[in-house]
Structures are given as structure tokens and as C-alpha cells.
Amino acid sequence: MTIEIPLLILLVMTAAGAMLVKDLISSVFILGSYSFALSLVWALLGAVDVAFVEAVVGAGLATVFFLLTLFRTTEKDDVIRRPPVPWAAIIGLPLLGLLLLYGAGDLPAFGDVSSPASTHISPYYLENSVAQTRTPNVVTAVLMDYRSFDTFIETIVIFTAGIACALILRKGGE
């Protein structure tokens, strides 16, 4: 699709920019715009709830938290550290990757009808979710209706984490 190409270019540019910029504050802002672009991509793909979470958490909360942290510390890294070359990681990680690729060979093909993931309960959701929940998006119906308690508890966990962060970073603390 032609629509997605400029957005994807924007996404790659913001991601690269956030990595390459020296100043940490501008890196935070670029990460914010990265979140905006990413949530636009989600919205374009039709995953509206994911887009919403990305906008709220990625672009809103994360930016503010990063900034709060930066104001507590210094925004420029003036000591250049050179960590020792991690030979174990350089050799070990590709081997692990090979192992994972070998394991992935046994997975069912993408969109396979007879795979376990799409034989159990997914057809039930697909057939009945509109009638039972009157929610047009199946993913939203599963998250917000069939597993609403699950989602609710998750929200509580995230909320608690947010309050904890706010308490730790509180102004004039100690």
C-alpha cells in the first residue's frame, strides 16, 4: 500500500535519529515522535486499541518520565566509557539465534487453518463475538469483554507502577 510507505520512512528516521543524536533531551523528544508515528501505523493497520495504548503510554507518559529522570540527572554524558569487548556474547548470541531458528522450523505455517492456535477457541470468538458483545473489532472484544477481568487487573498493575514512579520521582522528595 502506498499510504504506509511515508509513515514507515518516518518511523525508521525517528528510530535512527533517537539512536544517533548526542543530546539526551532531544533523543527523548525524537522517541516521542517515534511513538506518534508508530501509533499512526497501528491505527492504519486497524489495531485501534494498540494505537491508543501506544499514544497514551509511549508518547505521553514515557516522554514525561524520561524527562523527569533527565532533570534529576545530567543530560550530557561527558565521560566516554569503553566497555571490554564481550567475546562471550559475540560468540554465544548467534548460536542461540541459530537454535531459535531451528526451533522455528517446526512452527505451523502463517495462517495455517489446522494449527492448534486457530482450531480451539478462535473460531468461537470469530463467529460469536459480534452477536454477544456488539463490538466490531474481535481483538477489542476479546480484551475488553471476554477477558475483561484480566485486563482490569493488568490495568491495576500498570497504575500501581505509575504511582510508584510518581512517588519516587516526586519533586522535593527525600
Binding site: 502506498t2 499510504i3 511515508p6 509513515l7 520512512i9 518516518l10 528516521m13 525517528t14 535519529g17 543524536v21 543530546d23 533531551i25 532531544s26 523528544f29 525524537i30 516521542g32 515522535s33 506518534f36 508515528a37 501509533s39 499512526l40 491505527a43 492504519l44 486497524g46 485501534v48 494505537a51 491508543f52 499514544a55 497514551v56 508518547a59 505521553g60 516522554t63 514525561v64 524527562l67 523527569l68 532533570f71 543530560e75 466490531p136 473489532n137
Partner: protein, 90 residues
């Protein structure tokens, strides 16, 4: 009409690139804040536009309302903190 919408969408994305330049280059912190704010204004408009294209405006308007409110809160927080700290850079 749909191709017109695609045109508007691509134009808006290009404009976001311009603001991205300001965010990356901008000599002072405030330039970056302004650039980010410009990008998010575009994002709000883009979301409503996407909703119109998919004929699901009701769903997308909710996101863009959330976007707008969060953008307001975030920008005010940033401004408040920059004001208290003063700037160390020019």
C-alpha cells in the same frame, strides 16, 4: 475522493518530516518542544483523516481526543520543568 484523502495523508506525513528536522536540529530545547507539538497536531488531524477513510470515525475520534489531551498535559509538564530548571544549553 479516496485518492484525494491519500494525497492529503501523504502531504501531512511529509510535513511531519519537516517538523522532525526541527526536532533533531533545533538549536534550543524549546525548538524541540515546538517541533514535537507540531508533529502531534499533525497526528491528531491524521487520525481523524484515517477514521474518515476507513469510515470508522467514531472509533478514531476517541484516540485523537486522548492524543490531544495527553499532548496538552505532556507539553505543560515539559514547559513547567524547563522553566524551573532553566536551560543549561543555549
Amino acid at each position: 475522493m479516496s485518492s484525494f484523502f491519500v494525497f492529503v495523508l501523504v502531504t501531512l506525513t511529509m510535513l511531519m518530516l519537516v517538523y522532525l528536522y526541527r526536532v533533531i536540529r533545533g538549536p534550543s530545547v524549546f525548538d524541540r518542544v515546538l517541533g514535537l507539538n507540531g508533529i502531534s497536531t499533525k497526528a491528531i488531524v491524521l487520525l481523524v483523516l484515517l477514521g474518515t477513510m476507513f469510515e470508522r470515525v467514531d472509533m478514531f475520534v476517541d484516540i485523537s481526543t486522548g492524543y490531544a489531551l495527553l499532548n496538552l498535559v505532556g507539553a505543560l509538564a515539559i514547559a513547567k520543568f524547563l522553566e524551573e530548571r532553566g536551560t543549561s544549553e543555549k
